[in-house]
Symmetry: C2
Subunit: 331 residues, 2 copies
């Protein structure tokens, strides 16, 4: 069948732009044994893809000429694999396409999405990989206790907002860091954080000293760069840092020194998080976060673009930090 | 009484030199109530003093005009404090002096040195603060298991050599990093490490790939700087890093980026060590390391200069990395 797809035209330099991508046509054959043909309902846009485009991510590189990788919400049109019944909905590695032919590997890694989940796009956000990232980082690595002051960057994104809300539910005092008044207003208003620092408008170091005068007990870092360094300067003794993402570096900026002297001074524990290590916890995460969502205790926010052709500009917006919530493209 | 002492003449720029210090005379009164007069038998030279001279250390700054701080092995000449009987030997914060008047605070923090300990200078080295640093870092923070590949920098120093030997006794495979063939020969010959990389002569990254092809499970860092970065590039998944010292920065060099991406990639745990936090473990440490020394299972090495006047040049040698083992001045 004739489909639409988006390939990487060239390796982005700096922040990606629409010109780095090419929208075009392709032909898919009917599924062979072990394969399934799916229609893509929605695509998940995630910062790690930028890193993969530069060949710097743990996952495979995305090279010029290749269809851009990525997860999406898909509906099965035709299947030669026992796991995927026609009509059912899944999260799968479909790539930036209108339709995809999933092979057995992709099918085995796909996750079912039941009708009880509304909106279904939650399976790409707080009940998907970003949710698992937040949940595993908070539950398995952060060692946060009630009363701790927890700081999280990229606080209005699906990982940051979920970390902060899980921390609030666990009795922590939660300070977000985000860029711009609109994001900060959502973080303190809807997501219920105790405070949110707009690092575009305020001096981050001054704000941290004011808001965390006793020091930061837990820092959940989604950005790296100077934000990481600034929080390290305000750590409490015995602090824990979860290194989860490097937004500040994904567009190609040089790493900022994480000063080992600050780690020593705080007797801090720094842990690196890779969400793939925690895949076995998916069911536990979805049960817990799902219950919070149904009870109205955990808020989420989706930044939805419409139509496959809007994907490159939506991705550029995400990598510029101009998205408001989980970046999605609904086809 | 008339005594000799060494003051800081000026804040060192870069590596300290003899001209940064002034040798001179002073007069001490007889001890008042709660004080004791001691003769200094030996001084401990430690890299953290350089950091204190720059005002960058957790302990108080050492300023121009002040007698240089530091621990020494002292013998009590006259005492107005019940804890310090005349004739007994202690480790105390005496400073760079021939004799010192200890106040009640210094006396309460002094550690007794019994006649069973030979040589008594061990109380400044592997049975003193460097020994506790090594022991606490290895036992409390490194989480090392038999079979782990452990790398330690400044491997011929009292901390590094002790960490490596404790690790060997615990069944680890131990790789040292040191500067120069003489240090490396001692590390593999006397201290029994499995290997030692001479970073003056070899490409450190190549050597680490060759000697730790499966990755470094534990890195005990005494130096910071590019050595830390190089080891981070060769971490095994799940690695632990103990940040213990910053020799590469003490002379004033800028911090080298500790790339957060490498910590994430290895899902590493990085912990900062401050020896003062582990003071309560002194007795356990001395019992364990003392038993190893008596049984010939743990080697140590002392770099002894003679006479108080030699202290500045010995300290400059230490900060140039030209010492061979624990740097001491015997008066």
């Amino acid at each position: 069948m004739q489909i639409k797809q988006i390939t990487l035209a060239r390796t982005p330099q700096g922040t990606p732009s629409e010109a780095d991508f090419e929208f075009g046509d392709a032909t898919l054959p009917a599924p062979a044994g072990g394969q399934a043909l799916v229609r893509v309902l929605a695509l998940s846009l995630d910062p790690y893809l930028r890193s993969a485009m530069a060949g710097r991510h743990l996952s495979a590189a995305i090279r010029p000429g290749e269809v851009v990788r990525g997860e999406g919400l898909v509906q099965v049109l035709a299947s030669q694999h026992p796991r995927l019944a026609p009509g059912t909905t899944w999260v799968a590695a479909c790539g930036w396409r209108s339709h995809a032919l999933l092979d057995a590997d992709a099918i085995e890694q796909a996750r079912p999405v039941g009708p009880e989940l509304q909106p279904a796009t939650l399976a790409l956000g707080v009940l998907g990989m970003p949710g698992l990232t937040a949940w595993a980082g908070f539950k398995r690595l952060a060692d946060a206790k009630a009363g701790d002051t927890l700081v999280v960057s990229a606080a209005s994104g699906p990982v940051g907002a979920t970390v902060g809300q899980l921390a609030r539910l666990a009795g922590c005092r939660v300070i977000g860091i985000a860029g711009g008044p609109e994001k900060c207003a959502w973080v303190t208003g809807q997501a219920g954080f105790d405070a949110c620092i707009d690092y575009h408008a305020e001096d981050l170091r001054q704000a941290l000293r004011r808001l965390a005068p006793q020091g930061v007990a837990v820092y959940f870092d989604n950005v790296g760069g100077d934000v990481l360094l600034a929080v390290c300067e305000q750590l409490a003794v015995g602090a824990r840092i979860v290194l989860c993402g490097l937004m500040a570096q994904y567009n190609g900026a040089a790493p900022v020194p994480l000063n080992p002297g600050l780690i020593i001074r705080a007797r801090a524990t720094v842990r690196g998080l890779v969400v793939y290590d925690h895949w076995a916890d998916f069911a536990e995460m979805t049960a817990e976060i799902g219950a919070h969502i149904r009870a109205g205790r955990l808020q989420f926010r989706e930044d939805i673009s419409h139509g496959l052709a809007s994907t490159p500009s939506a991705f550029a917006r995400l990598m510029n930090g101009r998205n408001q919530g989980k970046a999605l493209v609904v086809l």
